[in-house]
Symmetry: none
Subunit: 196 residues, 4 copies
DNA sequence: CATGAATGAGACTTCATTCAT
DNA sequence: TATGAATGAAGTCTCATTCAT
């Protein structure tokens, strides 16, 4: 029936909120079940473990992002606009669902000892996509050739992640103006540099 | 006696290795005691808790870094060289004791849900110091004024952290040449940008 | 319809295989449903509980055995042949359906803490039947009177069970020759003793 | 200090009582801790798992029994007396500590799906020892040569185990007279057979 | 200072059973 | 009959911390 609730989805969404609020290591599976309003055991009916929930959450979203990066590169726009498209995608992802992005960044992408290592290949796919954009920009003479493309990709991604981290930490107001400002500033710095 | 071993130090050093290898959440206090070659209870004689060990490790090192940033800014060198000095300090810190830097970054700086939040003020001190350098560069007309100094500081730090993360993940060879190359590349990108 | 499958029977047969393979305590009801190729819930449509399945399996077979023992005693054959008939029946039961016999012996007959205690009366019926044969043999002067009939019955049954246990454990090859040999050897030892 | 209680021993002894009373699968580790009067965690300080406790209990006792069998065979007594010595050892073991013997037989020796399989080699050592006695008796012309020695060993052991099982089940009074009677009867049947 | 036994709360996971469809 | 989602109690094992010596 179309009105039937997809309990699996309910659990996933609840997990996002709980992971974001308490952190993966600190929360209990019971918290997720409570937040979702389902019985404890149902969580294990749909997921093999607490980790599997986080994995699912990460993969669902990350694949979309990798696709967005590839799509940006596929267009015929200038490389600066491609990077802007990526920055926009990520910032808008945060704007749309800050909890989910928080979880992905804090618990997976930046967790080098646990999930980050597990999903290293996936994470690298994003870097590869960005590096490709840089390379194409260099090939077309828009970007300087002296810079190592992969290095630049790391720089760009690290920069974005740091900006999101400030929002996550609450150090910087995460409002509409801030979001739009960040998109431009991000690209302006990586492309234009600090030098006058 | 000068030859007496400082057990507190021994425990701290062992903790670095254990945290780096297994991660803070995954390791047990017993692992630290074993690695240090001391009795279980002695860890609690010197430290109030497992967390206190990580706190100590972080603060010991972070204070030195904040001082190094301040020192860099205090010199009369051009801002680009100041940033290079900071990049050098951090990269050399990693070169000298990769385990310690790994622990600080992975378990504290990037752990927005746990220690990162606890030590937010300390972490911000580093950002403030870098922002000051950018501001001074802008004041002197060396850096562009359109860029937000704090934003630029985040960018620079995020960039460095991402580079270190690659070494930590083992994605990029962490050898002498790589270290020196990174220092220059880092500063080149943040100052010169990607644009041709 | 005669071609309709009796799902209850399918479940029972599947349970035999699962219990034999994994053991009653180690297997899950889901394993039985999977093995039977039926829906989870159907198991509970036909049986009140996991235990009820084992009970059913045991009683179905044990009653047949008790009847076989009574029948053996009812004949006018010499007691040694009666015992041989019993040994034959049990050994052939194993030959015909080793999984079922394994389950009955391992999970019921030898499980003094759980099902063995539950079905004690049934189990005793078999002993009583064997004891009756011994008593009749003694009454007819074929068997020595000094021996306690019930004690002898235990001995005979324990002996058979031990032989089956060896096959179950896989210590001894369970082939046609072994089966026939066991039948004779069993009776030879209990009747003839070891003495030269 | 000699008056210090060996908590490990206390736990082991408590486990015997709990396993005997409730059965291995049915009891909880908490029950053992309670029975021992120690904290829950201490059980895991001394033993890796609930299974490890049972393993320890079994091995401690079984090794003594295997040694007793070997010792019996080493003497120059007639084989019938050797078997009597073994029967006496086992029966006296039960008389001395019925709970321990119950646990060993019910939870290990007769548990073909779980611990019995794990300790198969150990269990076989006992059979081997008994088989050796039978062989020596045959070599000396005291026992009939037609009988397979290993088969006879199984028979003898199965017989003893069945007698103990009756005591465990409570079907037969386990008193001093019963113990002594059983020792003789056991040997009388296996050696003399039922035939008049 | 040093040791390591002792404590016990806590969390994950399992799975028999129920129930709505 | 048949399905499989939903429930929740129960139990094992972990491990930070305390404490007696």
């Amino acid at each position: 029936m179309s009105t039937a609730v997809d309990k699996r989805r309910v659990i996933l969404d609840a997990a996002v909120r709980v992971f974001a609020r308490q952190g993966f290591h600190t929360c209990r599976v019971a918290d997720i079940a409570d937040e979702a309003g389902v019985a404890y055991g149902l969580v294990y009916h749909y997921f093999a473990s607490k980790e599997a929930i986080l994995d699912t959450l990460f993969l669902e979203r990350w694949d979309v992002m990798v696709a967005a990066i590839a799509e940006a590169d596929a267009s015929s726009r200038p490389p600066r606009e491609k990077l802007h498209a990526i920055a926009s995608f990520i910032v808008d992802s945060y704007r749309h669902d800050p909890d989910l992005m928080k979880v992905i960044i804090v618990e997976v992408t930046r967790a080098a000892n646990t999930f980050g290592r597990t999903h290293l290949d996936k994470i690298m796919q994003a870097f590869d996509g960005i590096a490709a954009i840089v390379e194409h920009g260099q090939r077309d003479g828009i970007f300087r050739s002296e810079v190592d493309a992969r290095f630049a990709a790391q720089a760009f991604y690290g920069l974005i992640e740091q900006v999101l981290t400030q929002w996550i930490f609450g150090n910087v107001p995460a409002d509409a103006a801030g979001f739009e400002h960040a998109k431009s500033e991000l690209v302006d710095i990586i492309c234009g540099g600090l030098d006058a």
